[in-house]
Symmetry: C2
């Protein structure tokens, strides 16, 4: 069995691989809030276990075995988030930290029971996809809210889950995944977004908008 630390490293490498391309030990260290030297050390250990590819100064890549473990942990995490949210009513800005601790400890049996209870869901409370038992991720191609133009209608698809204060803020506008809204005006010079949610007019700062991903709704008039 792997240590919790090793699992966290694999999960982080996977997530960083998704976002950008190359994953350096430095980026990894920053993401994990650890000194670069520590990341280098662990990456070497993961290499001996054949869970990552790594040449010094060249960055890290997951092997198939490493990716499988990363996806398993991510599945644990997201199922736990949804379970805590749905079954126990933990607020959505609290589920991440809680799941972060539980994900390394929950058994496959309990996970399967939560999965069944939830009706085999495909997304967590922040809209992130839940990999299935075989590690298959079905991701819908959402776009960042910052790409939207005036007048565009859309639905919230996903929101970054690692900043609890940000989640409370976003939640206060009801911008949960599945919520529809339309852009009234995008202020020029990297300014804020004024949007309409269920008739309410709300101003969303640029930095916040960067953390929100949406699916465009085709304007019926333009079909």
């Amino acid at each position: 069995m792997l240590t919790h630390a090793a699992e966290d490293y694999l999960k982080s490498i996977y997530k960083l691989q998704e976002k950008g391309g190359k994953v350096s030990t430095g980026i990894l260290a920053e993401y994990l809030d650890v000194k670069p030297a520590s990341a280098t050390g662990m990456v070497k250990k993961l290499k001996t276990m054949k869970l990552v590819r790594y040449e010094r100064y060249r960055g890290v890549t997951l092997t198939d075995a490493g990716k499988a473990i990363a996806l398993e942990i991510i599945r644990h995490h997201r199922l736990l988030e949804l379970y805590l949210f749905t079954a126990l009513g933990v607020p959505w800005d609290g589920v991440h930290d809680e799941a972060e601790k539980l994900e390394h400890v929950i058994s496959e049996d309990v996970e399967a029971r939560m999965d069944e209870f939830l009706g085999y869901p495909t997304a967590d409370p922040h809209g992130a996809p839940i990999p299935d038992k075989n590690g298959v991720v079905t991701r819908t191609a959402s776009i960042p809210m910052t790409d939207l133009q005036d007048g565009q209608s859309c639905v919230v698809a996903e929101v970054s889950d690692n900043d609890s204060a940000l989640l409370r803020h976003i939640g206060s506008f009801n911008l949960y995944p599945g919520t529809a809204f339309s852009v009234i005006e995008v202020a020029p010079f990297e300014g804020p977004f004024t949007i309409d949610i269920a008739g309410q007019q709300v101003v969303i700062g640029r930095e916040v908008a960067k953390q929100i991903f949406v699916d465009k709704v085709q304007d019926p008039d333009n079909v």
Copy 2:
């Protein structure tokens, strides 16, 4: 915050204190499946934290602070057992090992939510009492099944939870806490017990009976 290991030691000292009187480092080591030298080392560390009293060769005792932590962990453990059993249908011979891992990791918030969901219960699936948030344990004075005589009627109060094979065995006879039965015959010379459960006649070995605790039911004829 304490380490998981330290929490396990405190919990074990508490349980051993309950059963017998003096808790030696040797007994503690055996209970935790660790070498005696390791137990001595941890006990010394716990002493510097003022969580135990300890003089070399004299055994260990919990301080009030140590006892409070032990009870908190035990509360986590038993609430988790009952939650897993009730909400997720984990079989009663599986909940112990699962709770053993989760008890160190669950937040007070999630615990409070499980407690509420369960209706503020006072016993886990094995009949062990669940301490309240203030660490108050309300224990009913049950007797070992081995103390029973021919013809005695009683109700299962509690069953040891740490041997999963034993629990499956006991479960196969339906000897769950709350189940009533009467003793048909106790075989002489430390022999097995023949009992009647809901009309079924069942033979229970001495070693198994030692792990079962019961409340006597007053025979109406003898009142």
